[in-house]
């Protein structure tokens, strides 16, 4: 009796063809994006989204064409941080047109699709029971659609703000194997390092060590009166962790309460408070990120193409 691989085709189900079509749509859209940059962390609450919005603002301020995709489907915050919350979506000839935030940053987030502040993301299903079986697949398909059906246009940078944990990292890597950089955010505590190390290991496996750069957030406390810096956490050194794991260290950003206040107003902190030590640190991290993606872009990919 014949086995699975003895039978050609897919019995007319058309599933394989549709999956190939989905990939083709995604690749066609991403071809116009020079550098795809994932911002991730194994740990929640370390400031990924705040860093993403400020990296985007620095890059856009330097003249780059920048898009930001909020890939945190269950805890979206970037629409708020970049001041586009509540913006009406328009369908253009090339897809859904993302609203533009400060400096022309194009933003897409599931937040733009939710009806009310307190509404959670709920997917249509006959029952919520056993939703753990299909929820991850639905979220991956939604993320693919956000990437492929948003009319990003030509971009120099597309920043993807991932939710905490490692599961979305592998989802994204299967969609964007050629990611230009993966920024791993940590804070200087042992608990954070423990979880972040796992994310780094996974991202290294998926994208290679040349893609990775570590950012230490909340690295110090800046006194509002005198401007002096002091340690906020007396934890381990994140630069040493990066060295130990063989990945780049992009820099440290001090803790700054006004960063959260700016985010609440929908204005990137680097624009609201450009003269502060934290803003200078964010600009330095952006410079290091640019160097990382340019170094990586110069490397040939496994298939001989150029990494982006």
């Amino acid at each position: 009796m014949k086995k699975y691989r003895d039978l050609a085709g897919d019995a007319g189900s058309g599933v394989a063809r549709q999956l190939l079509d989905q990939t083709a749509r995604l690749q066609a859209r991403m071809a116009a994006v020079r550098h795809k940059v994932a911002i991730l962390s194994g740990k929640g609450g370390v400031g990924k989204s705040a860093l993403t919005s400020n990296l985007a603002a620095v890059l856009a301020g330097e003249g780059a064409r920048v898009g930001v995709l909020d890939a945190d489907l269950n805890g979206p915050s970037l629409a708020k941080m970049l001041g586009v919350r509540g913006a009406a979506l328009r369908m253009g000839p090339a897809g859904v047109e993302p609203p533009e935030g400060p400096l022309g940053i194009k933003v897409f987030s599931i937040d733009l699709l939710l009806p009310r502040d307190e509404a959670p993301v709920r997917w249509d299903a006959p029952t919520e029971r056993e939703s753990y079986v299909w929820r991850g697949t639905v979220e991956a398909a939604a993320l693919r659609e956000f990437l492929s059906d948003t009319a990003w246009g030509p971009l120099d940078f597309l920043l993807l703000d991932l939710p905490p944990g490692t599961d979305r990292v592998s989802t994204l890597a299967s969609m964007l194997p050629e990611v230009g950089a993966a920024v791993v955010v940590t804070i200087p505590t042992e608990v954070s390092h423990l979880t972040v190390k796992r994310s780094i290991s996974m991202a290294k496996e998926l994208w290679g060590p040349s893609a990775l750069g570590v950012v230490e957030n909340m690295a110090a406390y800046v006194c509002a009166r005198c401007g002096g810096e002091g340690p906020l956490f007396r934890g381990p050194d994140s630069a040493a962790m990066a060295r130990e794991l063989g990945v780049a260290f992009l820099g440290r950003i001090p803790f700054e309460p006004r960063l959260a206040e700016a985010a609440d107003r929908g204005v990137p902190y680097v624009m609201a408070e450009p003269e502060t030590p934290a803003a200078a640190a964010l600009r330095a991290v952006t410079t290091a990120l640019r160097a990382l993606v340019e170094r990586r872009a110069a490397l040939p990919a496994a298939d001989g193409s150029v990494v982006g």
Binding site: D10, A11, R116, E130, A142, D149
Partner: protein
């Protein structure tokens, strides 16, 4: 998934897909050699798994719309129904005009890009007799449009031949 006719040791072909009823899909397969038919009946969880992949068994009958999956899968806010009460904060009043996230979209995408033909597919079409070529062309283009293909290749023509007998 593939189905094998154990009598003929031959692959069965998908014949018909019936719309989900109470969460169950009915997919009928037939053996081209002996005519034997089997129906695959999915339970609601299996149907949901297929939906989660953003695919339709048997192929799409209409081209994929931008964000069509999210539009279909994001559960709309019920209008005053019991599930609306689950969503609302305690004490919140029902919104008389629920916001559909895509309702504000001005649909500027009505004009789809035209189908294009690969030269090899064109050459193959040239081999079809003159008097039925326009009909064949129309049939192939309709088939391609229904599945969301933007380019007609020899592979597409093979599919047409398999499914429509053209």
């Amino acid at each position: 998934m593939k189905l094998l006719c154990t009598q003929c040791d031959a692959a069965m072909r998908l014949e018909r897909v019936e719309a989900p009823e109470q969460g169950s899909l009915t997919v009928t397969f037939a053996c081209a050699a002996c005519g034997n038919r089997v129906a695959l009946l999915t339970n609601p969880l299996e149907t949901q798994l297929v939906r989660a992949l953003d695919v339709k068994i048997g192929g799409r009958t209409d081209p994929a719309e931008p964000m069509g999956f999210v539009r279909a899968m994001l559960r709309p806010r019920p209008e005053g129904g019991p599930e609306g009460a689950e969503d609302a904060a305690p004490g919140a009043e029902a919104d008389p005009a629920p916001r559909c996230p895509f309702s504000a979209m001005a649909n500027l995408a009505a004009e789809r890009p035209p189908l294009t033909w690969d030269p090899a597919a064109e050459r193959r079409l040239e081999r079809v007799p003159d008097f039925i070529r326009p009909m064949a062309r129309q049939g192939i283009e309709r088939f391609a449009a229904e599945r969301g293909y933007l380019r007609i290749t020899e592979d597409v023509m093979d599919e047409v031949r398999g499914e429509l007998g053209l």
